[in-house]
């Protein structure tokens, strides 16, 4: 029996080792045609958070991109008949995985452009590879200003673009909306100290809110993934805030909203695009808790724009669910890239980069987009309010 036990133990150890390795990184391929582009195909890399904490961002964006490419291929492709071949990799929301996925797509799959990732941290990691190999990268939703401009040297990163507005813009618009439309005078801010996105929004919002005549009565920081917000919220309640600004991602936001409402805090809560997730109501402990909350976002599904509505319909038909802002931005990203390839007249990465940099009045579904000298788009910011769990367009502010 002794040897059987030993073997069983060894097998267990091996199994555990395998589980550890498996847990570290998973890669998925969304296309069966991989490898070097043929004469009639153009390879595009799609590098996304398809698992992990922000999996819904990446999945929605990727699905919309694949939908756009499918439409484009059906209409005859690009550059007079070339088909687009998307190669999808999952980076699990980890910076190092995003970087190695980008390298793999460029060196092994010879992609001419990279789309994604969804979040700023992962995009910056992937962008180092794009810059190294001189291949343009477009993030649909990386909102940190540092993504396109190096914060130290203030130099624009040549190969990095985005189709969403940047964080300071949404914080400025948020503060303006809080003071003018909600009439807030005393704001509390709850932000994640371990997240650049959250910290950036916190800084700009505070500045703007004070400039607009408000007062910040409580500032509470937490670490992303924290579970217990009751102590901090108890303090916020005591400070008598008439608005709580929560610039964080939906996982944390859900917990904060849920616990705030449980503590009897009924004041409006305002956030940013990180709130946008179909899971928000579930995490917030029910749709009712989300009433009287607002967030700045890239688009609203209820916007009557006919092209947007056509996209919403096509997305729902294909994937059987509502598209969110990440999906809409992903769709714009795919079309913006194809527009640039057409204008460049070639699938050469350098030519595509130049065409992207000179984009003017591109007619996207989220807004008209002009790429400025910092590779940021000039476009509309939508303010969404949650009504019984449904995202409703409150107003649009151009910035």
């Amino acid at each position: 029996m002794g040897s059987v036990k030993k073997v069983a133990l060894k097998a267990l150890a091996l199994f555990m080792a395998a589980a550890l390795i498996a847990g570290c990184g998973q890669q998925k391929s969304g296309s069966d045609k991989q490898g070097v582009a043929g004469a009639n195909t153009i390879n595009i890399g799609v590098n996304y958070e398809l698992s992990g904490d922000v999996a819904t961002y990446g999945t929605n964006s990727k699905d919309a991109i694949l939908l756009a490419f499918e439409e484009i291929n059906q209409k005859g492709g690009v550059l007079g008949g070339k088909k687009i071949n998307a190669i999808v990799l999952d980076n699990g929301g980890k910076k190092e995985e995003a970087m190695s996925a980008a390298a793999k797509l460029i060196t092994e799959n010879k992609v001419v452009a990279l789309l994604g990732p969804a979040t700023s941290g992962a995009t910056m990691a992937a962008a180092t590879m794009a810059t190294k190999y001189k291949v343009p990268i477009i993030s649909p939703s990386a909102t940190s200003p540092d993504v396109t401009v190096d914060p130290q040297s203030k130099k624009v990163r040549d190969y990095v673009f985005r189709v969403c507005f940047i964080d300071p813009t949404q914080a400025i618009v948020g503060a303006e909306f809080a003071t003018k439309d909600l009439g807030a005078k005393k704001a509390a801010i709850i932000y994640s100290n371990s997240d650049e996105y959250s910290k950036g929004l916190y800084k700009v919002f505070k500045e703007e809110f004070v400039k607009d005549g408000g007062q910040v009565v409580a500032e509470e920081s937490f670490n992303s993934g924290d579970q217990d917000f009751r102590p901090a919220l108890t303090r916020v309640k005591d400070a008598g805030a008439d608005l709580i600004y929560v610039p964080a991602y939906y996982g944390d936001v859900g917990k904060i909203v849920n616990q705030a409402r449980e503590l009897g805090i009924k004041v409006p809560m305002l956030g940013a695009d990180g709130w946008d997730s179909p899971k928000l109501a579930e995490y917030a402990g029910g749709a009712a808790n989300l009433n009287n909350t607002y967030f700045t976002n890239h688009y609203a599904a209820s916007d009557p724009n006919p092209r947007l509505q056509a996209f919403v319909k096509a997305f729902k038909e294909k994937y059987n669910r509502e598209p969110d802002a990440f999906a809409a931005l992903g769709y714009d990203t795919a079309y913006l890239l194809v527009d640039a390839i057409e204008r460049a007249g070639s699938a050469d990465p350098e030519a595509i980069r130049n065409a992207l940099a000179s984009t003017k009045d591109f007619d996207g579904i989220t807004s008209k987009i002009t790429i400025d000298q910092n590779h940021n788009p000039v476009k509309d910011v939508a303010i969404i309010t949650m009504v019984d769990g449904k995202q409703t367009l409150k107003k649009k502010i151009t910035h």
């Binding site: 550890l20 579970q227 901090a232 303090r235």
Partner: protein
Amino acid sequence: MAVFFQQIINGLSLGSIYALIALGYTMVYGIIQLINFAHGDIMMAGAYIAFFVVVYLKLNIWWAFIISMIGSALLGVIIERVAYKPLRNATRLAPLITAIGMSLFLENGGLMVLGTDIRSYPGGLITNAQLPLTLFGIRLTATTLQLLILAITIVMMIILQYIVHYTRAGKAMRAVSYDADAARLMGINVDNTISLTFALGSAFAAVAGILLGLYYNNIQPLMGIMPGLKAFVAAVIGGIGLIPGAMVGGFALGIFETMVSGYWSSNLRDPIVFLLLILILLVKPAGLLGKNNTEKV
């Protein structure tokens, strides 16, 4: 003052959950001097079993508690039999390392099987209404869930005290904990007694896991790590190996932690809690209730 009492309410709920987890740590330590690092992950398994019971079997939360306790107890016993029992006569370091391995196995296995998605228990499992409390003329807010957590914890502790002090199995546990060899000579089945200890501790962990899932409105495969470590700290604060120590330690840590976040900063909470662990180990390694040797289990 209202803020202070409100923070005490917040701390009591959290402390109850820590105490429930700490009980499992301390019982296992008491009986085989093993720090079962997989304990927090058994808690996670318990939370998931309950999730599947309410979502797929569509049973109510009380059935979820019962089935999850049984399931987790089985899991605890299997882990003990497979991973710890063969090492019973090895050096003390060997089972400790195995426990860490088992913990990583459950976490990563959980990620593999359950995915990284965060899930929430369906709404309406328990009525979670706000209770306006008035204490010394101060108006406070508690929820029915917070009261339920406290009540369940106290009931569980009474049950445990009963089992340990007034049943034959409890007497056997105390005997094995006091001297395993002598207990064996007296005809006590030491292996079964150790398994029973794991079963009890794991069932408590399951309850803690479900309460944590309800309290934070989310469960995920790595949910056991932090509360597991915190409960370990709680067990050490109270005096590891002592059942009343785990209770006192759990409540003390929950309230202490809430006060640190409430009056200082949420970012300092974890560093200070683990600093406290180091301080206790340096100054009073036996824990707050450390001298009391008679209740060792």
